[in-house]
């Protein structure tokens, strides 16, 4: 027995108020009469003033008030699980990367599946099961069904993805099975967002922590450097409480170029320097030492080729032109950059400035309209009205909050003038933010592939050397990332697992995943193929005779932390509510609110009947 809202027990004070009312009613009012002679002969019932006469009406009203107070406070009973076999039983699996960690010959998900299959096997006849998985998003594998064969098949078909658990995914998964009488959650840790569960859900929820403490090392970053110019770097982190030996292998286009054995202190990070690379291409870093989680032992990066980048910068502001030229030189120190205002940069003038070497690899257009300029890729910055994108509003300031590929910024970045743009559907947001007096998210950067080639847009202004301001480093990083994305090879994509990849196709594509599975993807709006790599590794996309390669990297610090002894969530109230003992079936919560309200109504009805009876006996004045 307990209360869902104990604070509302304060409404029980109304019983005290009732007693005061009764005391007040029982107190005798002094009435002046013409003569007490009139009251002499009667057998007067004299009672003491201030005496609380606890009659039937008092008890009925007290019962009604007490029942309502208890109902408000959410009185409930813990009852034994219903013996009936027609319960709705939900099996919810975390299929994020952490559940793919190996423990011996099995993964954690295998252990979870074994436990779940045991539950299914011992279920009473008629019990209905649902199987739901969640990682980056929730997915119903099998809705409530009494077909245990189908349930077992759905459980066995579960596979871990190389993505982190999204906080909203758990809530979405529980929402799908909100009608369940019992929910069994299998996860290697309390998923993010579990603390937001309300008590009723937590009471039905039975958390099964899967797995034991495991050592793990992960490649957290890979910078290929600039071929023949600057060395590359590979960051390796030990996520376990023990020292770890990591053999790190660096290869370029499948050919090994470096191999280093690193001993990492507990929770320490090592930096491996390699190169400079002799040429551009796909760089792969691999931890050869086996550990529990393999997905974060592999990472890819793309190093630009030896051909010099030809860039065009158009801006009405000479300072901005200079800053953007520096950015292009930073991306490729051997790049050729032509800069000028929009009226100076005619196609002929550009071609002449580039020495007749064809169109530029990238055109960066700042606060200008330059439709006549053609380039392999375009980056529009602070696009003006009448330019490439319709302008909804020009805002005096904005704030960058997160990057879709990197997550929330360490701290929000205050930006200058910003233009709210209507972006075409083929563009995917890259950075979001907010602005004063603007509701909802504001897209501050976006990128995509149009019919003319890759294009990207930055909505805020970069005047006043904002790109080079040390306090606004995120704007420089964003710009460099967009330039790299726009100037990178078309047939090679290096992305994070869980991020969407957009490829112009026009015909169905055949995708071969890292594990060898094949997927057919049909083109959607604008003839684009969009899909989400969920496994770390190399995806091969075949669109007719054309072939493209996608390299998916995975790393998430929380998900790769395989130490069960982590106490990150142990202090949350949820741990007190969720039954952590998977071997004991928790008792069923039965709220008594409806019964208490009915009891109060019955008491009030009886009181009305008593009053009516007294009225009929003693006259209307008695009511």
């Amino acid at each position: 027995m307990g209360f869902l809202n104990p604070l509302l027990l304060i409404s029980a004070l109304s019983v005290g108020v009732l007693i005061l009312i009764y005391l007040s009613a029982r107190s005798r009012s002094t009435v002046e009469v013409s003569s007490l002679l009139l009251f002499e002969e009667a057998q007067i019932a004299v009672s003491k003033a201030r005496f609380l006469k606890l009659d039937l009406l008092f008890w009925l009203e007290t019962s009604a008030l007490a029942a309502l107070s208890l109902g408000l406070a959410g009185l409930y009973l813990k009852m034994a699980p219903a013996p009936t076999g027609h319960r709705r039983h939900a099996l919810v699996f975390d299929v994020a990367a952490g559940m793919g960690a190996h423990e011996g010959s099995r993964t954690r998900l295998d252990e979870a599946k074994a436990q779940a299959l045991g539950m299914v096997g011992s279920a009473p006849p008629g019990e209905r099961f649902a199987v739901v998985s969640f990682a980056a998003q929730a997915e119903v594998q099998r809705y409530f069904t009494a077909d245990l064969g189908a349930v077992r098949a759905a459980i066995k078909a579960l596979r871990p993805f190389d993505v982190a658990t999204a906080p909203a995914a758990l809530a979405a998964a529980l929402m799908r099975v909100r009608d369940a009488d019992r929910i069994d959650l299998f996860a290697s840790r309390l998923p993010p967002g579990a603390g937001a569960l309300d008590k009723l859900d937590s009471a039905r929820l039975h958390f099964h922590r899967i797995g034991t403490a495991q050592d793990n090392a992960a490649i957290t970053g890979l910078d290929p450097g600039i071929p023949r110019v600057s060395p590359g770097h590979c960051a390796v982190r030990n996520l376990s409480p023990h020292p770890v030996l990591a053999n790190v292998e660096i290869s370029l286009n499948g050919r090994g170029i470096d191999r280093v054995a690193m001993i990492l202190e507990p929770h320490a990070q090592g930096n491996l320097k390699f190169g400079p690379l002799p040429t551009g291409g796909v760089v792969q870093a691999l931890i050869g030492t086996p550990d529990a989680l393999l997905a974060d032992n592999l990472r890819y990066a793309y190093a630009g080729g030896s051909r010099s980048l030809k860039g065009l910068v158009i801006s009405p502001d000479p300072a901005v032109r200079e800053d953007l030229a520096r950015v292009l030189r930073a991306v490729d120190p051997g790049s050729i950059v032509v800069a000028g205002s929009a009226d100076q940069m005619t196609p002929a003038a550009v071609a002449k400035a580039l020495g007749g070497a064809g169109q530029p690899d990238i055109a960066i257009v700042h606060d200008s309209v330059a439709d006549a300029i053609s380039a392999s890729a375009k980056l529009f910055i602070f696009s003006p009205p009448g330019g490439q994108f319709p302008v909804k509003a020009t805002l005096p300031a904005s704030q960058m909050d997160d990057r879709t590929d990197l997550g929330p910024l360490t701290r929000p970045l205050l930006l200058g003038p910003t233009r709210s743009l209507s972006l075409p559907e083929w563009m995917d947001p890259v950075a979001h933010g907010t602005a004063p007096h603007q509701s909802g998210l504001l897209t501050l950067a976006a990128a995509g592939i149009s019919a003319h080639g890759p294009e990207a847009v930055i909505a805020f202004d970069i005047r006043g050397h904002r790109l080079l301001d040390p306090d606004m480093l995120d704007t420089l990083v964003l710009t460099i990332d967009l330039v790299k994305m726009l100037t990178g090879p078309r047939d090679v994509h290096v992305v994070s697992t869980g991020a969407y990849v957009t490829i112009p196709a026009g015909a169905p594509a055949r995708v071969i995943a890292p594990d060898g599975s094949v997927l057919q993807v049909a083109p959607g709006y604008g003839g684009l193929i969009r899909f989400r790599p969920l496994y770390a590794g190399r995806y091969q996309v075949s669109i007719g005779p054309r072939h493209e390669t996608i390299y998916a990297n995975y790393f998430d610090a929380a998900e790769s932390e395989l130490s069960v002894s982590s106490t990150a969530e142990s202090g949350t109230p949820l741990s007190q509510v969720i039954d952590l003992d998977s071997g004991v079936r928790a008792r069923r919560i039965q709220p008594l609110t409806a019964a208490l309200v009915m009891l109060a109504m019955a008491a009030l009805l009886v009181e009305s009947a008593v009053l009516l009876r007294r009225a009929l006996r003693g006259g209307a004045s008695l009511v």
């Binding site: 009012s29 002094t30 013409s34 002679l37 009139l38 009667a42 004299v46």
Partner: protein
């Protein structure tokens, strides 16, 4: 309510009424004797043999000439009868407030005064009441004509209810004025111990007054004005407190108690030649004056 007593239409209905007085209006004049006083009226009343000491002016000389016998004549003298109307102004007359017993009593007093003035009898109004130990006895002058009826209005307007019912003391003060005995009309609720009004009546009767008692009660008082519930009752005259719980049974007992009190007063009046009338409820004023008073012989 008092205003009704001075409305012309109301007074017009009283013009034909005469106060019912049993006592003969004649007195013997010219001799210190008890009983009737032989007077110099014009209406011959009786003959009697001459006795020594009789006034020779009343000898019937014609009879002596015819019969050679001495007779003296007595005449019916038109003698005025003083009418005193005593109105109880104790605190109990003010309760229940909504019944306006005191207003009814004042209107009845004024009505009877108006009727008595119709015979040119000297009439006065007397009120008695006031705080404990301080009897407020207030009397008007004797008025003899209806034209002066309006002179009662200031007194009737100014008197207020207060204090206990000191009826014996008021009668004692009234009799101390040593006026010729006449008619004394006592208007009260008589919600006092019976010994009080019995003492007062005995004094009046001993002084050869013709006594008439009019009991004024409120309709709510008679029916029991208190609804069911617990009360602390305070007697408005004595200040005595009593805690009671009114139930339908108790309310019925109270009504019976009031009936008993009325019956006791009525029996006492009947046994002592006192005319008794009960006016219950101010709303019954017209009916009481036009029907009840004549039926009881209080007016004719």
């Amino acid at each position: 309510m008092l205003a009704r007593a001075f409305e012309p239409a109301f007074l017009q209905r009283l013009d034909n009424l005469v106060l019912g007085i049993k006592r003969a209006r004649t007195v013997r004049l010219g001799r210190r004797a008890l009983g009737r006083v032989q007077g110099s009226g014009i209406e011959l009343e009786n003959f009697k043999d001459y006795c020594e000491g009789d006034d020779l002016r009343f000898l019937d000389w014609n009879a002596m000439a015819r019969l050679d016998t001495l007779y003296t004549k007595s005449y019916r003298v038109e003698r005025e009868t003083e009418v005193s109307i005593l109105i109880d102004a104790s605190a109990s007359m003010g309760l229940p407030v909504r019944d306006d017993k005191f207003g009814l009593a004042r209107v009845l007093g004024a009505t009877l005064a108006y009727v008595a003035l119709g015979e040119n009898d000297p009439v006065r109004l007397i009120s008695f009441g006031g705080p404990r130990g301080q009897l407020a006895y207030r009397a008007t002058e004797f008025l003899r004509r209806r034209e002066s009826y309006a002179s009662f209005k200031p007194m009737l307007t100014e008197i207020k209810c207060a204090g206990p019912t000191e009826m014996p003391h008021a009668v004692e003060q009234f009799l101390n004025q040593r006026r010729p005995p006449g008619v004394a009309i006592v208007i009260s609720d008589f919600l006092v111990p019976s010994s009080l009004y019995k003492t007062a009546f005995s004094h009046l009767l001993a002084a050869r007054y013709e006594v008439k008692a009019i009991q004024v009660l409120g309709s709510r008082e008679a029916a029991g004005s208190l609804g069911p519930g617990a009360y602390r009752l305070r007697d408005c005259e004595t200040g005595e407190l009593r805690e009671v719980t009114i139930t339908p049974t108790v309310a019925e007992a109270c009504r019976r108690r009031l009936d008993n009190l009325r019956e006791e007063l009525q029996l006492h009046c009947a046994g002592h030649g006192i005319t008794y009338a009960a006016a219950v409820g101010a709303q019954n004023l017209d009916d009481f004056i036009v029907r009840e008073l004549p039926r009881l012989g209080l007016v004719r």
